[in-house]
Symmetry: C2
Subunit: 250 residues, 2 copies
């Protein structure tokens, strides 16, 4: 059944109004009719099967028939911080990272990021990123849409990280020779309900200044498996690993 | 240090000859000179630091200085069988799947594959796929290059699968409601040194005929985590999960 995230203002108890892009999708792409059903996700992560009772010129009205008990959200909060990569890799990370359970995406302007985005360009990019994440949430049956931030500086990143329970950064240099630095040693200390922030460098990795700054801010260096991963593969590996530990082993 | 896979014929005890694309890469891209070092991977998975002693017109000659003890290969054999997906997704799977530890890639013409490739088109594609996998192996510091097959039929797939210790296929329909169908229940029964073959459907999933055929051939249905993954995300999730269990928990 098709899913839609319905904004807070469009819920009135168990009645919903669907407008704009989702209206278009229901009426013109899915060609649904009155009496058809869909799944509506509420802003608080609840979801329900809803039946369409009227299709107007710009609004679809539907009513909750049955609240669902879904468990597609990970039991931990995971923020992926990514040094801005080249090309369309950031969009790949947003799409796949949403499927794999990230709850928060934060791009940052790293010393070795080749891409530099000014505020004007970013203003156009952010809505596009949010659209990718919303669509990936619908497709993967998530009940909450991950947040996407605008690009932050290194100082802003350190401020943001202060509220997280666990802080990691992928830093091969620090850990290459140590067999004891296996991910499970770290992940098995994390408890359900806690929050994790994980920083991944851009193509060239972190600069020494950044690595030192992250350590000073309380980040622990981790190694992401025995092979060298590309910058865009690294967050997907971490997310899949956290999913295995928290969702598939328990 | 840059890595190159050197074919069997170009090894003579501890002397190697580097030709063709790798020659070009060393001389024109990396601009190495006599006396510089590189890592050479031998056909049997051994690797060594080698020093260049002469650069000729079409051949770089180098000699082994030190054999390395690397552990970047997973302790299990993992074959990814993928129903042919649309667009360039297969190439994404080859690249990322190599980074994540697959040892064998087998595309198959599924009932719901939108793409249909004839033998003429495939003849052109296969060398390109092998190049992607070779380059990803070098970049990710693997010491063996995964094999890539040409597209197989469903009957061929069943024949190939006969030699594997464990056979799985991703089939959400069969497992949606069962909390006990967690991946760890399956993976924790697998032992080091064993072989696993995992089938992933194309965008539309497996047909009922295919699902029944796979079950008859001894494949077990598995669910890939609590969210619905796109066809190209599914093999990456499985591979990262196997890496976590076999490489990061032990």
């Amino acid at each position: 059944m098709q899913r839609y995230f319905i904004e807070k203002d469009n819920w009135q108890e168990d009645k919903i109004q669907i407008v704009a892009d989702d209206y278009h999708h229901i009426v013109h792409v899915m060609r649904m009719e009155e009496g058809d059903t869909l799944i509506a996700n509420r802003y608080d992560g609840q979801s329900a099967i809803c039946r369409i009772h009227v299709i107007q010129e710009t609004v679809v009205e539907a009513t909750v028939e049955e609240w669902l008990q879904e468990e597609s959200e990970p039991p931990i909060d995971i923020a992926i911080v990514q040094g801005l990569p080249k090309g369309d890799k950031w969009e790949l990370i947003l799409q796949k990272g949403t499927e794999l359970g990230a709850t928060h995406f934060i791009p940052f302007q790293a010393d070795r990021s080749v891409v530099k985005w000014d505020h004007k360009k970013l203003k156009k990019k952010l809505p596009r990123w949010q659209k990718i994440v919303k669509e990936a949430s619908e497709q993967s049956h998530r009940t909450k849409i991950p947040k996407v931030e605008s690009v932050v500086t290194f100082e802003e990143l350190k401020d943001i990280s202060a509220s997280y329970d666990w802080k990691f950064f992928a830093y091969e240099e620090a850990t290459r020779d140590y067999k004891s630095f296996k991910l499970h040693n770290y992940f098995s200390q994390i408890e359900e309900g806690q929050s994790i922030i994980i920083c991944i460098g851009p193509e060239g990795g972190f600069s020494e200044d950044e690595a030192n700054g992250l350590k000073d801010a309380g980040f622990q260096a981790i190694r992401l498996g025995p092979r060298i991963l590309r910058t865009e593969t690294a967050p997907l590996y971490v997310l899949a690993n956290l999913s295995y530990y928290f969702e598939e082993m328990r």
